[in-house]
């Protein structure tokens, strides 16, 4: 595995692989369905912990989530903020 990752034809970037005794696997980041507990119509203010308690189904829902890519900057805060702003506009 190390030698494959070291080869010029290997295009993986910031990937994480397990290897051992002929066993190989690749790991992914998994992000759940987003839970938005920001302002709602007629209900301004900071998100409350109760909203997170009541939103556990969303946070457990990885089928409606995504697999973010690391290493290219798309996974960080700018993307998360863009999602929140996108949500606020709708």
């Amino acid at each position: 595995m190390a030698v494959w990752l070291a080869h010029s034809s290997c295009s993986h970037k910031a990937s994480v692989h397990e290897a051992g005794g002929g066993y190989f696997a690749r790991l992914n980041w998994a992000r759940s369905k987003p839970l938005f507990a920001t302002e709602k119509e007629g209900e301004l203010g900071a998100p409350q912990p109760e909203a997170i308690r009541d939103g556990q189904n969303d946070l457990e829902d990885f089928d409606q989530g995504d697999r973010p890519i690391s290493g290219d900057g798309s996974m960080g805060a700018p993307s998360a903020l863009a999602r929140v702003f996108g949500h606020l506009k709708t």
């Binding site: 910031a14 290897a19 005794g21």
Partner: protein, 234 residues
């Protein structure tokens, strides 16, 4: 063995840290067998960083590689002085295409016994050592507009009772992601990836022992070199 086209590394140069024993040695042999020139870096210390710093295990690996028809050079600098390893590689071969960051120490204290000193020592070698090597090699990669880097993380990072080791090994993933980000920003063919060996050398020995026990119980012969066979398959 299947007749498949080998990955070709001819003309390339790799630094493999901690290549005197175990996984690093296996990586060095495999790269050399595919035509890569290898800097076999190893301090010669024990698994926990103790022991005779003058033990010349890297010489043995270099001799083995040359015996097998490959090209390798020994280096005894600490990964904490990455610039010295990179300088030695450039002096020997004039370029560096690959860095396999494999060197690491494991201090075995459980959480209740873990001292700040041990925590710091582990991070110094396993995390700051990789920083040191990558910081030194990065201008070479950028100049060549090419590089391949592999970080050796560990399943210990999932939680296995060795907190300092786990934290250092999880930290390498953040470091790899950040170096990859830099490479993408520069639009260069530089890739940084992470390997989690699911069997370390001691584990493979235990694994091999259990395989041999099973073979014995089935009345079969015992594989004499089982750990090496497992290592080759990583």
């Amino acid at each position: 063995m299947n007749q498949v086209a080998h990955l070709d590394f001819s003309g390339q140069v790799a630094i493999v840290t901690g290549a005197g024993r175990g996984l690093g040695r296996a990586h060095a042999h495999l790269l050399a067998s595919r035509g890569c020139k290898v800097i076999v870096n190893d301090l010669g210390s024990a698994y926990d960083g103790s022991g005779d710093p003058n033990a010349r295990v890297a010489d043995t690996v270099v001799a083995e590689i040359i015996e097998a028809g490959g090209d390798a050079t020994a280096n005894y600098d600490s990964v904490e002085q990455g610039d010295q390893i990179v300088e030695a590689a450039l002096k020997a071969y004039g370029r560096i295409d690959i860095v396999i960051n494999n060197a690491g120490i494991l201090t075995p204290e459980v959480w209740s016994d873990l001292t700040l000193e041990s925590w710091q020592r582990t991070l110094d070698v396993n995390l700051t050592g990789v920083f040191s090597v990558m910081k030194a090699v990065w201008p070479v990669f950028v100049e060549q507009q090419y590089g391949r880097c592999v970080m050796t993380s560990s399943p210990a990072m999932y939680g296995a009772g060795v907190a300092a080791y786990a934290a250092s090994k999880a930290g390498l993933i953040g470091l790899a992601n950040s170096l990859q980000f830099e490479a993408i920003k520069l639009k260069l063919d530089i890739n940084c990836n992470v390997l989690i060996p699911q069997a370390d050398t001691r584990m493979t020995q235990d694994f091999a022992a259990s395989v041999n026990d099973r073979r014995k119980s089935q009345g079969k012969s015992v594989a004499p070199n089982a750990p090496a066979e497992v290592l080759k398959r990583l």
